[in-house]
Symmetry: C3
Subunit: 466 residues, 3 copies
């Protein structure tokens, strides 16, 4: 439906349709996400069952089912230690469909409905009655060559897609993609969390791996920095234009060379003190800004998630099981360590993402409306929704304008949902701008320029994807 | 007016009317509130004057008048030490009416207007001109048998109404209600704040009272726990299905048996240290969760009020005088002590209430969208208003869905306002769902199911009122 | 356009037009702002070039341009140490116009467009194409007598305009205005930040200046208080009705006489300790409340800005360069020191301003809906925008009503933007009340009373400008 989700006010509705129509066919820029590059490395890759494709990798879906008493075993999630997870995928699908009312008025509900219709051509409502028919139709589609990842990439009209990769990753899949001669632009993103946060499980082993892959034996802080610079250069040679950093807070500071060296050596010896990890992480964010100011990789920070909040789930299934919960965030004081040194740097771009909406108008928009290096990432995670994105525009545009935004990214591992997610963003922006136009804050020339910027240009420029 | 308060957009308005019509006649579920059970114990109970009924118990009303220079004495509030409060209720009523413009666009203004019209059949606008006429009409109504509490209970179509009662309450009025053979379901709620928060004024005396009413002499931590378990069993035998806990923060932790015992004994000796109270309260919340996981009483937490903020008012008039002010709240870290132990328990339900709207989307909805025990209570206190409830739905539904909500409760001591409060909630939900429907996020089947859940089913299920 | 910015819903739109029409011609009450009184002291004062008038004093404009890579030098801002700032004002204007798309959908964009149209009669869209034509038209207008400050004051229909002045100011310009016999009511406001915050740069010199202008030699805390009281009396004799206080937090406390004396003497000797400044500032806020309770000056607090956040900009250009960033705020606990002593005082009025929207509904509205001394100032700074003001009304009115608000003030140093800013506020209020009316929360009598209160009466009453 051409005007779905738009305001029912006639003036706003017709303006929204016109704005949306002007951008709906633009290519998709996907500068941040979690699609597995493996799916593009093999030209004949197939997605497996509908449950493999749509349920097992999607913690948005199983967190909600879990909250209402469905165990993860019933959804096919494999316990770490092995065990009795359900293997009958049709049965899992029926369980999901029987509980699909839980997703009424949620973005997950909207994405999957639109994805079934627009990507798979299935118009059936998701419920118990239609469970088998939808499953059958999906199976039929997934068996076809036109539903393989590369074919979908072309159908989706993706201009560039960035994956997210550990600093120690060999980027073998990216190398295979290049070697295959396929024209799709799939590029890596440098994500060094597991080697810069010294309290990460397995950090010491990660450092050894870093030595191996970089060819620089990490003996001390100086060689550690060299190894990281080597990896960044390698990622860049493989097409990367950005780095990504997750942190529970936005704390940044510059340690003295002596302090940084001392903490790093304590960490190597397994003797880091209780405050060392937070300080070292804050220091490494500044250090990463320094490197970005030199090599031009766009820096992203994702701040404010309490990872693996539920210890029982973590013990049984591991990470990314829908139990990451947002934390209150602060940027005005915390980011000052980085901004004092690099906030005015002409070559640096830093895109900020956050899970605490109170920072939007209070801190993020005022900061982005002043510091040249800053761009605001689109609403992240729980806020990547119609109302969440609308609140974001309401909160930040009056102070930062739209030209300090980073456009959209889908941040998803659910590959076939990508066009739907971009479509929702484009519709939100069209609807929001239509409201501005209907009230006379902006004129038509403004509105059509702005929708194009929000739908396409800003992401491309921010991430230097020219 | 059938479509009052609904959006003036024609599509949304007509959908809202249809949705509202489908639930307006459903019985009222009142699982949390502060009506005095005394009014039901005596079949011939009368409410006294309009001021006794509508003004003196309602701190929503006198806080606003006080903020604009009307003293509480002028409103008939009795000073604790006796003194000169105004006794002429007609004069008090005139003062209230002369200031009623203060309540324009407030929920209090809406509730009283709707209550006069719908409960008492009085269509006059509240102002000085109409003060006497309204007073006369109210006096006339209150003298009639059909305006006695039990008659109103039936007219209001209340299916169940829970009061809130101290852990040491003998529940004499509830016993009298049962003994009378009257069919109205009025049940107690176990609220142990005054015996679990060791910094409560009179805590030591409350412990003696606990010993008396439980028959378990509280000598130490073990007998204290036994006495509490006895009281819970007694409340349950009197029909209770829930407990309620007020706390300034959501802090929870499990103390070791030794620590709990040591703090409790210091408290008994009047020697508790400065941090003991906060830690013991946090521990007792976990202990209450443990008991609820065994006896099945639904647990409620009301977090974030700074009680009796104005010392001059507190000294002269005591508690509940409109001077309780919200505090910033945090759940992700604070609730972890409880969730780590009981967050996945199949028998426990924990309903959370808060006065800091920033927690809605950032913490409460993500937590409720994962942990099976959690349900989100409706907007509390200052947020039990048209815009407050709308913001709540906007903030939580996209992340938690509606099926992790606890439906509605009126939380009021203003008994005749109960139907009006439920009516406003039902209208808010109808209007909100109509907006979702008009934009195409949900379809009609969804919308009609959801309005029924929000208006009736969710409260009944959450509080186990079958 | 008579109905610009109003909702496109027909019912709300026509009600908004009627409400707006009823107040659009009311005089402007400007009780807080930063217009330089010099412009009124000289009857022949002229504003200089369009850039002198519109760009160089407006950090709203140059912060946004700076965030997109335009240096402040290119905008004519003079470095403190002298240097190469651009002096060709037409060239500066062209740079601004070439970047004006940055202000799409921002209040700055709306203000300047409306100001050009309504004050200067220039209907051209601001962009590169029109840059020279607009510049020429502005130059032509500014050369005319009817665009001098006093003529505009009368054309703007300003009933009273308060400036903001240091406690040590001689108020020479205000004296000149009085001496000139001109009838415009321009009054000072007592702002003692630079003498009460002992960590201010140059505080010791300010104290000497305070001794000089007050005629009270400040030797100790007692004479310091006397000197401040002298200055307040002087400001009051010059027409002041209010004081203003900026603070990074709302912390208030009453120090003992001994403590206050001890800290003050440490400060005089340049030996203040690290926590002294915060405690002394908190104490002086209470002391200022004490003085206001005696002399009747309305007290204003502006809380929550991190001043001069960008050290590179501060070092090169100094203060007020668009690099002040909001901080998270707290009032429930922080303001208690002041409220415990003066919260119920019959003669005191305290107007609160804040940059953290989360405090609106959680703390500010509940406090103002109880304490007689409190009034809520209108949205400040980044929130003085269509959506910012709408969110403010949404967040506070249900709890505090409108009669605990302080009406509007423009808080601007951009003198010719004053009518536009009041016009936007009046339109926001008309649109908001029209929404309340269209839904039936209020009736027409209410709505017309409320729009007048919000547009005119509340500011006049709060600031005692009778």
């Amino acid at each position: 439906m051409r005007n779905r989700y738009f305001s029912s006010d006639p003036a706003q509705n017709s303006a929204a349709v016109a704005l949306y129509d002007s951008v709906k066919a633009l290519p998709l820029i996907c500068p941040h996400g979690h699609v597995d590059p493996r799916v593009f490395a093999d030209p004949h890759y197939q997605f497996g069952s509908p449950v493999n494709l749509l349920i097992i990798p999607d913690h948005y879906i199983f967190r909600m089912l879990y909250s209402q008493g469905v165990s993860l075993d019933e959804l096919g999630i494999l316990p770490l230690q092995g065990g009795s997870s359900l293997r009958d995928h049709r049965e899992i699908w029926r369980t999901v469909c029987a509980h699909w009312h839980l997703f009424r008025a949620t973005p997950t509900g909207i994405w999957l409905r639109d994805e079934l219709a627009d990507v798979f051509g299935i118009q059936l409502k998701i419920n118990s009655r239609n469970a088998d028919a939808i499953y059958d139709a999906l199976e039929e589609r997934l068996a076809r060559a036109e539903f393989r990842p590369r074919a979908l990439f072309e159908r989706f009209n993706i201009e560039a897609l960035a994956t997210t990769d550990a600093a120690t990753d060999t980027l073998a899949h990216h190398q295979a993609i290049r070697a295959s001669g396929w024209g799709g632009r799939v590029i890596p993103t440098f994500r060094p969390d597991a080697v810069v946060n010294i309290d990460t499980d397995g950090w010491r082993e990660n450092i050894d791996l870093l030595s191996d892959v970089s060819g620089v034996t990490v003996r001390d802080y100086a060689t550690y920095i060299q190894a990281l610079e080597q990896r960044r250069a390698f990622f860049k040679s493989m097409g990367a234009t950005a780095t990504d950093h997750a942190a529970s807070t936005a704390w940044t500071e510059t340690l003295s060379a002596t302090e940084a060296q001392a903490i790093f050596e304590r960490a190597l010896r397994g003797e880091a003190k209780s405050k060392d990890a937070a300080r070292f992480s804050g220091h490494m964010l500044v250090e990463m800004a320094r490197m970005s100011s030199e090599d031009g990789l766009v820096m992203q920070m994702h701040v404010g998630s309490y990872r693996n909040h539920n210890p029982a789930i973590f013990a049984r299934y591991g990470r990314d099981m829908g139990a990451d919960i947002p934390l209150r965030s602060e940027f005005t004081k915390n980011l000052k360590g980085l901004l004092d040194r690099f906030g005015n740097h002409p070559k640096l771009t830093l895109a900020l993402f956050n899970l605490d909406e109170t920072t939007y108008s209070r801190e993020l928009a005022p900061l982005a409306g002043h510091y040249p290096i800053l761009r605001l990432g689109p609403p992240w995670w729980f806020f990547d929704s119609w109302l969440g994105m609308t609140r974001f525009l309401d909160a930040v545009v009056e102070t930062a304008g739209i030209y300090n935004l980073a456009g959209f990214n889908d941040d998803t591992r659910a590959y076939p949902s990508i066009p739907t997610r971009h479509d929702v963003w484009r519709r939100v922006c069209a609807d929001w701008l239509a409201g501005q136009l209907a009230r006379g804050f902006i004129d038509e020339e403004d509105a059509f320029d702005m929708i194009r910027a929000l739908a396409y240009d800003l992401a491309k420029q921010t991430y230097r994807l020219d």
